[in-house]
């Protein structure tokens, strides 16, 4: 028992030492060019209206979808190059996580940990943001062909976001 307590104290997450400190510099040194530079960024688009009048959408690689929807293919070695529409008015009990590549034990308890649908609904109710698009968008982040991903999932979501007249897109990894 004492040993267990001692090892807990040494856990860097408990002592507050961040495991990710300096990570970006390390990756840049080991894999030059893999991290994008300022010159690569797309031009900054300014908000055309106040946040309280803007329609927000959520795009996540968390693999969350409606229980009634077709499950993600989490077994294919190249990934699943499809995305799911998640109604922004959905309840937590309507949703399921279909993704194996990140720990989702906490998200299973409270899906807002990775897909903050209830918090966004609250922000609309409090008029912090103007509204939500009818659907949010979800896919699995494990896709081994970036070009195919860009042509299928990314292009498909980009078109859908435009169709839903989103002013702001919140992108969230998982």
């Amino acid at each position: 028992m004492m040993e267990a307590v001692e090892s807990l104290k040494l856990d860097p997450r408990e002592t507050g030492e961040q495991l990710r400190a300096g990570l970006w510099q390390t990756i840049n040194q080991r894999y030059p060019g893999s991290m994008i530079t300022k010159a690569d960024y797309v031009p900054l688009a300014r908000l055309s209206k106040p946040l309280s009048q803007s329609r927000v959408t959520l795009i996540s690689s968390c693999g969350v979808h409606l229980k009634s929807d077709r499950p993600m293919n989490v077994c294919h070695p190249f990934g699943d190059f499809t995305f799911r529409r998640v109604p922004s008015g959905a309840q937590q009990s309507d949703l399921i996580i279909h993704q194996l590549k990140y720990p989702h034990d906490d998200a299973d308890l409270d899906i807002n940990v990775i897909f903050p649908i209830e918090r966004l609904q609250e922000l609309v109710a409090e008029e912090v943001i103007g509204g939500l698009t009818g659907n949010f968008f979800s896919f699995i982040g494990y896709n081994m062909d970036p070009e195919r991903f860009e042509q299928t999932v990314a292009a498909g979501i980009a078109d859908a976001v435009e169709e839903e007249h989103a002013d702001v897109a919140l992108l969230a990894p998982a």
């Binding site: 997450r13 408990e14 002592t15 507050g16 961040q18 990710r20 994008i36 300022k38 690569d40 960024y41 797309v42 031009p43 900054l44 688009a45 908000l47 946040l51 927000v56 990140y102 720990p103 989702h104 034990d105 906490d106 998200a107 308890l109 409270d110 807002n112 940990v113 990775i114 903050p116 918090r119 966004l120 609250e122 922000l123 912090v128 943001i129 702001v168 919140l170 992108l171 969230a172 990894p173 998982a174």
Partner: protein
């Protein structure tokens, strides 16, 4: 390469990008700080790090998670 014009870096583990279960104030803060960047970011490529350590999140979340499990 996604090349998002503004990003909020959240220094927490995978699967926890909006914080911890039932910690609604923290989940909300991640969203609102990210949305704030729409108004405050001066240049494309702006990355702001959320100054909250995971150790502090875990400390705050332990009790909430225990309560939430029993719901």
């Amino acid at each position: 390469m996604i090349k998002v014009p503004r990003a909020l870096f959240v220094p927490w583990p995978m699967g926890h990008h909006f914080g911890a279960p039932f910690h609604t104030t923290l989940q909300r803060r991640v969203i609102t700080e990210a949305l704030q960047l729409l108004q405050t970011a001066e240049a494309s490529g702006t990355i702001v790090t959320l100054p909250i350590k995971w150790a502090d999140v875990r400390r705050e979340a332990k009790q909430l998670t225990a309560q939430g499990r029993s719901l």
